[in-house]
């Protein structure tokens, strides 16, 4: 396995090269902040490339920042190329955005990193994040340059958290979700962090709301969360950013993963594996009959 310092060095070299040759306007990566916490970093100058880091705290899915770059700056102008550091889960989000015509592959330079899993908390022995424990694909599906050696990790299929809810009665589940959603502040951090949530005007935040309320009573919070999960049906790449950024720890992965599993069962589809395959809910097979 390649050392993290070595990987950091490779990322820096590549970023410096791209920036000095003017191939990209910016490289989006990670840096260590003044208090030792890893945070997203935008390198615009070749000299800034040395601030980039790679370690097991680089949890953010940076592809969500690409939405700020996807529009031309002037008439008939192409948007500037941008370099981005991605992990395996982020790379699937890239495929999703390319498939949905949000990005063009040629505009992005993908510095893909073979990820060994992200950790929470302090110290070397901090536990792997739950999503990383479940991760089967550690080699990114899209890359222009690959940092690290591709490895195959056996998939640890674990649906126990979803199954724990499924054995309850519907009434108990309603009570469970009512307790979870009760904490929601409607801060929309889950939506902001999600690479798949990119509407200019969110249905949940209309200036003139028609039927989706913006209140924080039970029914509107319930609606918001089911809506958020359902809008990502067949698109969610299970990067789990929504849950990670939630300030009140709502277990959003329980909603997302249940849909991910249903999509796999119903349509045998995994989102983000290919830039050509559309989400199963935007298409259908002729004469298909499903159980309703």
């Amino acid at each position: 396995m390649m050392d993290m310092t070595e990987m950091t060095e490779q990322i820096r070299v590549k970023a410096r090269e791209l920036l000095s040759k003017d191939e990209v306007a910016c490289v989006i990566g990670y840096e260590t902040g003044p208090r030792g916490i890893v945070r997203p970093f935008f390198a615009y100058e070749p000299d800034e490339a040395d601030r980039l880091v790679w370690n097991d705290r680089c949890a953010h899915n940076l592809t969500t920042y690409l939405h700020d770059w996807k529009h031309p700056r002037g008439q008939s102008q192409m948007p500037p190329s941008v370099g981005i550091v991605v992990k395996a889960c982020d790379a699937r989000a890239l495929n999703l955005l390319i498939q949905e015509r949000q990005l063009t592959r040629e505009w992005i330079y993908v510095i893909a990193v073979v990820c060994q899993g992200m950790r929470d908390g302090d110290g070397e022995e901090a536990p792997l994040q739950a999503r990383c424990g479940r991760c089967a694909e550690r080699t990114p599906v899209v890359h222009d340059v690959l940092v690290g050696e591709p490895t195959v990790t056996p998939a640890r299929v674990d649906w126990s958290d979803v199954q724990a809810l499924e054995v309850m009665t519907a009434r108990e589940r309603l009570a469970f979700w009512a307790r979870q959603f009760d904490r929601c502040l409607r801060c929309y951090a889950c939506r902001q962090a999600c690479p798949g949530c990119y509407c200019y005007e969110c249905l949940a935040e209309q200036v003139d709301p028609l039927w989706v309320g913006i209140g924080i009573d039970f029914s509107e919070k319930f609606f918001f969360h089911v809506m958020r999960a359902y809008h990502l049906a067949g698109r969610c790449v299970d990067c789990n950013e929504c849950e990670r950024v939630c300030p009140v720890n709502i277990p959003l992965s329980l909603l997302n993963r249940r849909i991910v599993r249903e999509i796999t069962e119903l349509f045998d589809y995994t989102s983000g594996l290919s830039p050509d395959e559309p989400s199963p809910l935007t298409t259908f097979r002729p004469n298909e009959e499903l159980t309703l």
Partner: protein
């Protein structure tokens, strides 16, 4: 079970088949439960699954979504999209606490007046057995469970 309970059921019926089917039920003088409130929509593909959720949160105890039989859609393929959406939504609603039996998605053609009465009858029976859905009064007369 609350014997006074009368289920409130919202029916989203497609203009071209199911709404005409419901009309046929009436003109054929076939009785069916009066619990259903019908909303006419252009196509079952128009019924955003979130409209169903909204209906529940606004006080419905059951929802019916009916459209043309697959292959007979006025817009050629609207109900195929609907079919995929509801195959997923059905399972998902159950997961967030709305029993699967409360939502029925079915195909009723303009000639199937008797079948429409049958579908509404079955759904009303199922919802009556399930009782009122408590989520729509959460935070009002029903307090949050601890």
């Amino acid at each position: 079970m609350d014997t006074d309970f009368e289920p409130r059921i919202v029916g989203f019926l497609c203009n071209w088949c199911s709404y005409a089917g419901a009309d046929m039920t009436g003109t054929s003088r076939i009785p069916y439960p009066p619990n259903i409130r019908i909303i006419r929509v252009p196509c079952s593909g128009r019924v955003n699954p979130l409209l169903v959720l909204k209906a529940f949160l606004e006080g419905a105890d059951g929802v019916l979504v009916a459209g043309c039989h697959p292959g007979d859609c006025h817009y050629a393929d609207g109900n195929f999209y609907a079919q995929r959406r509801y195959a997923l939504m059905h399972r998902f609603l159950d997961y967030v606490g709305i029993e699967a039996g409360r939502l029925r998605v079915d195909w009723v053609s303009a000639a199937e007046g008797a079948r429409f009465a049958e579908v509404v009858g079955e759904l009303t029976h199922v919802v009556r057995t399930l009782g009122p859905w408590s989520g729509n009064r959460m935070g009002q007369d029903v307090t949050l469970p601890s």
